[in-house]
Structures are given as C-alpha cells and as structure tokens.
C-alpha cells in the first residue's frame, strides 16, 4: 500500500539541488505530487509530496543531504487527497516596512473568513526606505465583502487590494 509523505529540505542555495534530490527519489520509484521549491535569501527551500511504498526516506536521502548540506524533515501526510482547493480571492498588500504587517493583516482577514491557500512576501525598496510586499491567494469563506470591510480597520500606510478570482471554465 503506497502512502504519501511530505518532505521539507532546506540548505544553502547552490546549482542542481532539485536535480540531485529528485533523481534519488525517482530511482527509488517514489512519485512526486505537489511540490513547491524556491530560493529564500541565500537558502533554497523545497517541499515535496512524495508517494512511496513505505520506504525509509531518511535513509534513502541521507547521502544527498550530507553532500549538499541539506536539512531534511519528513511528515507522514495525514491527508492523502490530491485535490487542490480553489482560491476565489487574490489579495495584494504593500507598504513601508515595519514589524507586524503580516500578523495584523492575516489576523484581521482570518477573522473575516479568509482561508489562506498560498502566501508570499518579499522585502523591496531602498535600504533607508524598505517596503514590504505580500500576495495572498485564498478562499473568502464569508464572502469578499467581509474581507473588504475587515481591510478598512487595517492601519494607515498599508495598501490592500482585494480582488475576487472568477475562474473561467471552458
């Protein structure tokens, strides 16, 4: 009986990390599901859902992790469903950088029914005037109007754009 595990690997960024890790998995007949991998600062972070015959993934990946100095974390996936949840709202947030923007925005939007599916943030601008940028895709479980209303109470200096996603099916 095959099962799904969620692997998280993080290490200093270098060329061909993805190739090295996925090669080992492929040669051991592990199948990949959803993955998300990106450079973050000077690190490279990978999250992979892997379907396999109850193998010892830590042992399997030990050599490649040692060679590339990657930290590995394994979660046995409790939810084996592969179905993606559809976002129905896209939110962009930006403003002069200060501490607490993400906490404030996500708390207020969560209270108004936002279920975050995907969130990314970046730091940009100049050194003396840094700005913070966040993009969110999610589900507005109490409707988009509830999010728009909640956004009114977010502090000045943080710009929010809340745009419904109307997925075209054709």
């Amino acid at each position: 009986m095959k099962k799904w595990s969620l692997l998280t690997l993080v290490g200093a960024d270098q060329t061909a990390i993805v190739a090295a890790v996925t090669r080992v998995l492929a040669e051991a007949d592990c199948e990949l599901g959803e993955t998300s991998m990106m450079r973050m600062g000077g690190s490279f972070a990978m999250m992979l859902r892997v379907r396999h015959e109850n193998q010892d993934l830590a042992a399997l990946l030990k050599d490649v992790c040692d060679r590339l100095s990657l930290h590995l974390h394994i979660d046995d996936d409790v939810d084996s469903s592969n179905a993606a949840i559809e976002p129905d709202v896209n939110i962009t947030v930006y403003g002069a950088d200060r501490s607490g923007i993400v906490a404030e925005v996500t708390s207020k939007l969560a209270d108004a029914g936002l279920n975050i599916i995907d969130l990314e943030t970046a730091l940009a601008g100049t050194k003396d005037k840094p700005i913070y940028i966040m993009t969110i895709e999610g589900q507005a479980r109490q409707g988009v109007d509830a999010l728009t209303k909640a956004a009114e109470s977010i502090s000045d200096g943080v710009e929010l754009n809340i745009i419904p996603i109307q997925t075209l099916r054709a």
Binding site: D118, E137, L168, R169
Partner: protein, 168 residues
Amino acid sequence: MAVLEIIHYPDDRLKQASDTVTLFDQSLKDFLVDLEETRLSGPGAVGIAAPQVGVAKRIAIVDLTELKKPVDNHGHLLMINPEITQWQGMEKGREGCLSVPDFTGNVIRAEKITIRFQNSEAQWAEFETRGYEARAIQHEIDHLDGMLFLDRLVSRRADLFQRKVYKK
C-alpha cells in the same frame, strides 16, 4: 441530440490546428446542437470548442449569460471560423478547462479584442469585447489553433502588481 465525449490532454487531437469550415449544411447545425448539449453537461463551462470533442473544425461556443456573478457579454455565441482581428491590453486571470480536469492556473490574455466569426448560415458578425468574455473567446480560439491554457501559464511572481481596473 447527443452529449459527445470530451477528450482530455494528453490526447494528441487537442494539440492539432483545426480546419476552416466551408460547408454550412444541416450536419453543421446538428453538430452545434450536440456541442452545446455537451457544454451544458459539464461542470459550469462557459465555453467549448470542437477539438474538445475530437472534431478538428473551427467551431466554438461561448456563453456568459448564466454566470452567478454577471459580466458584460454579447449573449450566446455560436462561432464558426472565428478570428481575432485586434488585441489590446493584458490581464491575468485564472482558467480551467474541460480537457484538463482538476487543474486551474493563471493565464495572461488580451483585455480587449475585436472578434469576427460566421454563424451557422455563413453570415459574418464582428464586434469588440473585453474582460471575461474576451478571455473565454481567446481560450476557445486557442483550442482551434491546437493550444491549451497550459501553454500560457504564468507564475504568480511574474506580475505582482498587474491590476484589473474596470472603467466604464
């Protein structure tokens, strides 16, 4: 009348360009009825193109009249030999496809287009449309050219501040 079988990628027929329709006869009208019935049998599809039922002809249907959130539209469109003659602007939106089950992704489309096409009597119509209807038409015409929305996927990072501003 019949519901036709929707073919799914990686069926090669979805990647082939379709032929111009030259014969405007009863069999074309019968096919349009079947194609519409097939569209309506699917889960909320606003459009369908002949290649999605394995027919390599330049025929598509777009209908935005029944959306839960209403959008501007030109009614129920049966389009034969459709062509886009002008494009303007760019806009990101999320799309899915009857021929690619269980996946939706972000695609950039022209915001405003001019479209011309024939009806089942071979008469030409031409108009300008924008937004959601323009997106649906571009999605369907891509099918006639052997293109899928998968050929046009963009990452979220690619267009961080692309904003949709509708002004009437």
